[in-house]
Amino acid sequence: MRRNLRHDLPALSEVTAPDIRASRRRLITDSIGIGVSAAGFGFAFGLAAREAGFSPIEAMAMSAIAFAGAAQFAAVGYVASSLAWPGIILLTALLNARHLLYSAALSPWLRNVSFARRAGMAHLLTDEAFALSISHFRRIGMADERGYWVAGIGSTFIPWNLATLAGVLLGGQIPNPARFGIDIIFPAAMIGLAVGLITGRRELVAAIVGAGVGVVVALATSPAIGIVAGGTIGPMVGLVVPASLARETAPLGTPASAEHYALPGTHADQPPPGVPDR
């Protein structure tokens, strides 16, 4: 599909600075929501780490060096229950294997960024950074390195680490953090991000199946394995939806959304799945 054949939408080459600014404003707004989530979750992690006997510097090392969200929580639980380190490492690798798919999905967008900066970007690649940045890229139809840094650092890394520090230092003074609903922030943020990425029936099917498989497998084995199973099986089932029924929509009606699956530089000469050639 040639990019300039749709007369109802501006061509990709006509993406303007106001388009980018508008998308960045939405990125920042969404990042604030994610930042609240990261802060709440990071604070809860700090509390949990303190309870498990982590010193402040150990908790901070976990958040800054590993920077692995749910895997950190799991690690705290296993440290508290004296699980051997190899088991914790294996669990961490399993839980974070999904990032390979995220990084591959972002790769075409960021191919023109220098190797060193991509290496730095990789450390910041979380569920939240992926969802925020790829949504932003799709809206404007191109990569926006500054947007990625906002998504990675501003929305997650800074609030997560500051909140971890606050949690591990101040946690002893809060009798029961669950009273303040901190535990619900993470799942609410995750489902909200998932909804933001659903732009057709394939994504919807993938999300529903991913959730169902995740819960069943988690009950049968462990939450970590359930999440990985849901995240890998859900997309497989989503692909079964025929392209003719996928009904890929165009959020915001932008050029990027019109070519939802046509990542820059890839398959631009072919109709993307779910979008009829014109």
């Binding site: 969404d30 609240v36 402040p56 510097i57 150990e58 090392a61 976990m62 590993a66 920077f67 692995a68 950190q72 914790i88 961490t92 974070n96 990032h99 390979l100 798919l101 995220y102 990084s103 591959a104 999905a105 972002l106 790769s107 191919r111 991509r118 290496a119 990789a122 569920d127 009273r179 303040f180 609903g181 535990d183 619900i184 922030i185 799942p187 609410a188 995750m190 909200g192 991000l193 909804v195 394939r202 994504e203 919807l204 993938a206 529903i208 991913g210 995740g214 819960v215 988690a218 009950l219 939450p223 890998t232 859900g234 997309p235 989503g238 692909l239 699956y261 990542l263 890839t266 072919q270």
Partner: protein
């Protein structure tokens, strides 16, 4: 102050970073077949939905055995989902979810997590 667990953090980084970096740094991964990209497009919704679902429906008991959980958290997460789907405002959705849980627990309508 103990520093023993810093090594654990480094080891966790050593198994996490490759997953994050391989796609971004390895040449050629951006030339995957179209079906692979179609698959990757679906990974985000699936993983995030699985994370949310497992977080609110599966709890680990004192015996380390996963069990099914039904609670106010379901309603809170569903309300967040509905708000984001209808209004596109994640921050509002998260705040609403937290408010529901806090009010329900304060009113004694829901138990605090173990």
């Amino acid at each position: 102050m103990s520093t023993n667990l810093i090594l654990l953090a480094v080891l966790m980084f050593s198994v996490t970073y490759p997953s994050r970096a391989l796609g971004l740094l390895a040449p050629g991964l951006d030339r995957l077949p179209r079906i692979a990209f179609a698959y990757l497009q679906l990974v985000g919704p699936a993983v995030l939905a699985a994370l949310a679902a497992v977080s609110v429906t599966v709890v680990i008991g004192g015996d380390d055995v996963p069990s099914f959980h039904v609670g106010i958290e379901w309603i809170a997460v569903f309300v967040c989902l509905a708000i984001v789907a209808r209004r596109g405002n994640l921050l509002f959705g998260v705040i609403a979810a937290v408010a529901i849980v806090v009010i329900a627990r304060a009113a004694g309508l829901a138990a605090l997590p173990a």
